[in-house]
């Protein structure tokens, strides 16, 4: 983790020092240009449309077409062909690292994107962080009315906190959680001690339901199928808003970032970069947070967010301090082997 953070900060410092000219261009200068924006669909993409795409279209005269849902195989097939249908795509941090290594992305043009507005931890050479989300310990408030679990160690304590668990069906984050629960400090986490992590996970394996989609992680709590587990902050917020008896702990939250990227060979590279620049503005990020409670990468955006939403964001000063950013570089290099091992572990 520390290496990632350091290299990112160094990169960002260099970027922040470059002169910035994007805003100098006149309004409506992109009239007639069409930018295709692809994301994950649902309420999230609706929020992005209203918060980034519409202000961008208004300011530049460009037309933004919504597409998706984002699909890694489709992205690869497109970018591999050299003439992608998509111009700006919302991708996960894990895919960003892989795609950057495989040469599927355009470099972020820092003359057009003011990356200096963002927290340097969320800026990458090939992508700009648009939202941050975190893996948290979620639990049923009905099951643990007297004394709620707070740490990852509690997830593994079946005596003190009986009940079924849920863990995401992938090694990413699950192995980190196991090691944190076993007492490894966040800054000593990478490279992961994989044997130790699996040994720890063995403790709860028989009691665990694995989730594969985010909606499933919510549904498991709503259906009282599980009482505690690893779940995303936004999902706990959403379920709690809708009246589910669920809460989360911020202790050692594991943060991950979604990035906007431009697939290699985009015909509208410059316009795409400027759409990304619109995303970096604090007022636009505030809108997304208000609509869907995903955390801003421009930390200045937090102060204007609805006070009811703020406690659920992982990039408030308090929650940043309690958490850390997952190393996507580690996962880029180990995901394949560890996924194999994860599958074998589940079958064993």
């Amino acid at each position: 983790m520390s290496t990632t953070r350091r290299s990112l900060m160094a990169g960002a410092a260099a970027i922040a020092a470059t002169p910035f000219a994007a805003r100098a261009q006149g309004a409506n200068d992109l009239k007639g240009t069409t930018v295709v924006f692809a994301s994950w669909g649902g309420a999230y993409q609706d929020a992005e449309k209203v918060s980034y795409c519409e202000p961008f279209a208004k300011a530049t005269g460009a037309t933004v077409v919504q597409d998706g849902p984002m699909n890694v195989a489709k992205f690869r097939a497109m970018a591999g062909s050299g003439s992608p249908d998509w111009d700006v795509v919302d991708v996960t941090g894990g895919f960003l690292e892989v795609a950057a290594k495989d040469g599927l992305l355009e470099k972020i043009d820092t003359k057009l994107v003011n990356v200096g507005r963002l927290d340097p931890r969320f800026v990458h050479e090939y992508g700009v962080g648009c939202i941050v989300w975190s893996y948290n310990l979620g639990y049923s408030t009905a099951a643990y009315a007297n004394g709620a679990p707070t740490t990852w160690a509690d997830l593994f304590d079946l005596k003190k906190f009986p009940g079924k668990r849920t863990v995401l069906d992938q090694p990413v984050a699950s192995l980190e959680v196991a090691l944190l629960a076993d007492g490894v400090a966040p800054d000593k986490l990478y490279p992961l001690d994989v044997d130790r992590a699996f040994k720890k996970l063995d403790q709860i394996k028989a009691q665990t339901v694995f989730w594969t989609t985010n909606s499933q992680s919510q549904q498991l709590f709503v259906d009282r199928e599980v009482t505690m587990g690893i779940i995303l902050n936004g999902r706990v917020y959403d379920a709690a808003q809708k009246g589910a008896k669920i809460a989360l702990s911020w202790e050692q939250n594991i943060q991950a970032v979604d990035y906007l990227v431009v697939p290699k060979g985009s015909k509208n590279r410059a316009a795409a970069m400027r759409l990304i620049d619109t995303m970096t503005m604090a007022e636009n990020q505030t809108k997304v947070a208000n609509l869907i409670a995903y955390s801003p990468t421009n930390l200045a955006a937090v102060k204007d967010v609805d006070p009811k939403v703020v406690p659920w964001l992982c990039t408030t000063p308090d929650n940043i301090a309690k958490g850390f950013v997952m190393s996507q570089l580690y996962w880029r290099d180990h995901l394949k082997d560890l996924t194999e091992r994860w599958t074998a572990w589940k079958l064993a």
Partner: protein, 270 residues
């Protein structure tokens, strides 16, 4: 008379077992549908059963979202031609393979069945790759071709099993008596295999409607069938809007089936 009685005595236990099993299967098939329809009228923002209260909010949500209406239109425009093409080509191929003496018929049959054996992901990515060069991604034509390919094996399997059971001597007799092949097919073979042909047409439509993976690759934001729209929704959040669209499809299915049954009623009873 005695034989009839004997027969019934022997069959009675089987009739009871058969009835019970059919009832069980009926419950098994319909229970999830009841759950879906009831949840679509839920007032809760979750897929919760039984729902805490009733409301129409998910239907309002559904019909106030143009994307859903558009998706329904695309689905129909895609599944009808794809099912028709697959049924015509599949029936013709089944007839040729079962009745004709074609060298290596088994091998040809196996090749034609491949689209259901090859994992959908592979087919989807392969079509996506080929379509790129032809500009077929994001077009109705592209979706129809892909779905015709996926439907063909089902038609072929159903129709050829109907043909195999049917006695071919009738056809032989007809052609010996000088009936041209087309007349033999139309007058003798087709009426006999019609139930199989029609049911494979319906099944093909349903399969198209439900198919996700090829649709996901080949569709675009503007040409997007219901299955992809649903998936896109599920990726974001999972609320009873999904149950509402499912119930609308269910209603649509009821109408199609009632129409189908009404159409088939005449010839069937004679």
């Amino acid at each position: 008379m005695t034989r009839l009685v004997m027969n019934q005595d022997g069959m009675a236990p089987w009739r009871i077992v058969r009835g019970t099993l059919c009832l069980l299967v009926a419950v098994f098939l319909l229970a999830p549908l009841f759950v879906v329809v009831i949840i679509s009228f839920s007032s809760a923002p979750f897929l919760q059963f039984p729902p805490p209260g009733l409301s129409l909010r998910w239907y309002v949500q559904l019909f106030s979202t143009p994307a859903w209406i558009n998706a329904l239109v695309v689905s129909v425009e895609m599944m009808v031609p794809a099912a028709l093409l697959a049924t015509i080509m599949g029936t013709a191929a089944a007839y040729a393979l079962v009745r004709g003496r074609i060298p290596g018929a088994r091998l040809v049959m196996a090749c034609l069945m491949l689209p259901i054996i090859v994992p959908g992901m592979i087919t989807a990515a392969a079509l996506f790759g080929i379509y790129r060069g032809l500009g077929l991604n994001g077009t109705l034509t592209g979706l129809v071709i892909g779905h015709t390919v996926l439907n063909l094996p089902y038609v072929l399997a159903t129709v050829s099993s109907a043909l195999r059971v049917q006695d071919s001597r009738l056809e032989q007799a007809a052609s010996t008596l000088g009936a041209p092949p087309w007349a033999t097919f139309r007058r003798i073979t087709l009426p006999l295999i019609l139930p199989a042909v029609l049911s494979s047409l319906l099944v093909a439509m349903i399969l198209s409607f439900d198919e996700l993976i090829v649709s996901l690759f080949v569709s675009s934001a503007r040409v997007r069938p219901v299955a992809v729209q649903m998936w896109s929704n599920v990726m974001g959040d999972f609320d009873p809007t999904i149950a509402a669209i499912a119930s609308v499809c269910f209603l649509f299915a009821l109408l199609v089936l009632v129409a189908d049954l009404a159409l088939r009623r005449g010839p069937r009873l004679t």
